[in-house]
Amino acid sequence: MRVALSVACFDDALFPGTGRAVTALLERLGHEVTFPPGQTCCGQIHWTSGYHREAADLARAYTAAFAGGDVVVAPSASCAAAVRDAHPKIARAARDPGLARAAEGLAVYELTEFLVDVLGVVDVGAYFPHRVTYHPSCQSLRTLGIGDRPLRLLRAVKGIDLVELPAAQECCGFGGAFAMKNADVSVAMVADKIRHVRETGADVVCAVDGSCLAHIGGALSRLRSGVRTMHLAEILAETGPS
């Protein structure tokens, strides 16, 4: 299958390893990956911050970049949620039926949805001999409803020691502009999140959202906690010494 890779603007700059891992993973599974060069940002930051006109400009650019007809895979639950859930709302707010149609025409999957639902694979042949815990980001859990797909994929990884994160479903406190506008509350939230991460004794905390990982990772790093953050795709891309 030919897959158009959608890389979050955030991941593009800060976590380029995520896109590289998805490319490696999908190619290993026998699929062709393209990276439509017109893509920049899905418009989520502007939309959720209240800059709805600007979000409409970005959503138009996004839908134009992915209009090629290939299935779109986004290794970022919040981008996938923005495209699937927010673009129709952005179109409505902008009174732009053209954008609404264009948004409807896109088939966008979050990475784990694509692997489990479209490709029907759970065991992707990964090997990762580390203690790992998984944080289900709010957008993945509530807006997309991806459920336990990430955990099923992780359980099939050889060598992994997967440990459950206490209070996993509680928000990490990122929330886009919230992390800056309400920095104190945001930090109070991430403090509890990393306490739970530490309780698991995991070396790696993973998620399907680079933004949450930047938040959790930023707090772990400031405290020199010795716990790493990784995108789920980076774990799935790892193969053993075979």
Binding site: A13, Q39, R142, C171, F178, V185
Partner: protein, 482 residues
């Protein structure tokens, strides 16, 4: 005639949410109390929903009835007025808080009473009634336990159902002992003792009260009935004992038919306390000779509600049945309590209701829609399926639109516009990305950025940012795949 201007007190200016939250975040005892209280309620309400087989159908019915009630509000309100009048009551319409205060203070003055008993009510809090009555020399006796504690302490209420959610048992025991020496409960603040002490203290006040003021959970249009749902029985005393009953309620409390109560009386107790039924559900219709109050006044409050009603997305907030489930699951509320949301409507529902009722011109009210990570936990539990994050984003849009009209753009607006302009074009984006990466790498040491300038500095107050790798994803792609 003397007496204060019924315009009443002007509320003090409110700080922005972030500033108002700081003292709460630093208050260890408050944090513990809130954590405990919200966790208990979360568990109880989740269990109550889980044991109700048709819970999702009930929620959908609640949504549909609520939406229907709002869409036909004009006719339902007329029907309500007719039914109340036929049952011997009087309906008063209040466009805003000042108007409502004028009506209520006028009614109290007519009775000549110098003391009124009151049950918990958000609407009376919204119009600042206690201060207005105190200003004309009338003593207000709040009769709900939590409100008594708040009144004794001179606090602001912090939770929809339990106004004293920010105080623990021992503190409340202490307040009660200080204020009701005759009936003082034991120092540990055992709940039963507290209730017994309050009961003894209140009984005598109920018996001598001439006037009672209550809110309403629901107003049934077809029958003109006021429905009050409560745990302590004090509102029932208010409804039945005094001569004059004044009920203040928002126009959004109207439900079309008596049958609709079937849905709401299943949803409300389960979502608020996790009980299958609330201990006291009282319904009161007009006046009945020889039984209960001799005069019944219903004050219907608009105060921004018709404006909210006109907003297709925002009006969902008016469906709220005041269960407080959204507060108890909110990770922000759990850490800040209700006070940073302003004096009336706390929590996620407050963050979408207050800006609509009061407008977003003030910086404080405009900060409310941003007091959320949009995690969506509230929408998951709301018994009438209000999509709170959706309304929050919509209201953020309203805030930004109102700021666009200002002559000088804020730094944030300049930044966001610039960002959008850059990102709307792939080539501009790529150039900016390359520059940004280079700039950010200059700020980093050992692979991490510990201090960022400007608006982003709030991030690095307590969190690092990884240094961006020299090669962005698109640069890697172009180098290896093209």
């Amino acid at each position: 005639m003397t007496g204060p201007a019924p315009g009443g007190p002007v509320p003090p200016p409110m700080p922005k949410f972030a500033a108002a939250a700081r003292p709460a975040l630093a208050d260890t005892g408050l944090r513990r109390t809130l954590r405990g209280a919200t966790a208990t309620l979360r568990e109880r309400t989740a269990a109550a929903a889980a044991e109700t087989a048709d819970w999702e159908d009930l929620r959908e019915a609640g949504r549909a009835v609520g939406e229907g009630a709002l869409l036909g509000l004009d006719t339902h309100l007329e029907e309500l007025e007719r039914a109340v009048t036929e049952a011997g009551g009087t309906v008063h319409w209040a466009v805003d808080a000042a108007d409502a205060r004028r009506v209520v203070t006028g009614l109290v003055r007519e009775t000549g009473a110098t003391e009124v008993v009151k049950s918990a009510s958000l609407a009376t809090r919204e119009i600042g009634l206690n201060d207005a009555l105190a200003g004309m020399g009338v003593t207000v006796r709040d009769t709900a336990l939590a409100d008594m504690a708040v009144q004794f302490a001179g606090d602001e209420p912090s939770h929809l159902l339990s106004a004293a959610a920010h105080r623990d048992r021992a503190q409340i025991g202490e307040l009660f002992r200080r204020e009701m020496p005759a009936a003082g409960p034991d120092p540990a603040g055992d709940p039963e003792d507290l209730a017994a002490a309050a009961r003894a203290h209140l009984r005598e006040r109920f018996l001598r009260a001439q006037v009672a003021i209550t809110g309403a959970n629901f107003l049934v249009a077809e029958t003109g009935t006021v429905v009050v749902v409560e745990s302590e029985g004090n509102a029932r005393m208010c409804l039945t004992l005094p001569e004059t009953l004044i009920c203040v309620a928002g126009i959004d409390k109207v439900v079309p038919a008596w049958d609709d109560m079937e849905v709401f009386l299943q949803l409300l107790p389960r979502s608020s306390t996790g009980d299958r039924m609330t201990p006291y559900v009282s319904s009161w219709t007009g006046v009945t000779p020889g039984d209960g109050p001799r005069a019944f006044h219903l004050v219907l409050l608009d105060n921004g509600r018709t404006r909210a009603l006109a907003d297709e997305i925002g009006r969902a907030a008016l469906r709220c049945i005041g269960c407080s489930a959204c507060l108890n699951v909110c990770p922000v509320y759990e850490r800040t309590g209700g006070q940073p949301y302003g004096p009336v409507h706390p929590g996620p529902i407050g963050a979408i209701l207050t800006p609509q009722l009061r407008g977003v011109e003030s910086a404080a009210v405009a900060s409310l829609p941003y007091a959320s990570t949009l995690c969506g936990a509230c929408a998951d539990v709301c018994p009438v399926k209000i999509d709170i994050p959706d309304v929050l984003v919509h209201l953020r849009g309203a805030v930004v639109e109102s700021r666009r009209r200002r002559p000088v753009p804020t730094p944030e607006m300049a930044l966001m516009r610039g960002l959008a302009w850059t990102m709307a074009d792939p080539r501009r984006h790529e150039t900016a990305l390359r520059r940004g990466v280079r700039w950010a790498r200059l700020l980093s040491r050992g692979g991490r950025i510990r201090r960022l300038p400007g608006l982003l500095g709030m991030w690095t107050e307590a969190r690092d940012l990884p240094a961006p790798p020299a090669e962005s994803f698109r640069a890697w792609w172009n180098r290896t795949r093209r």
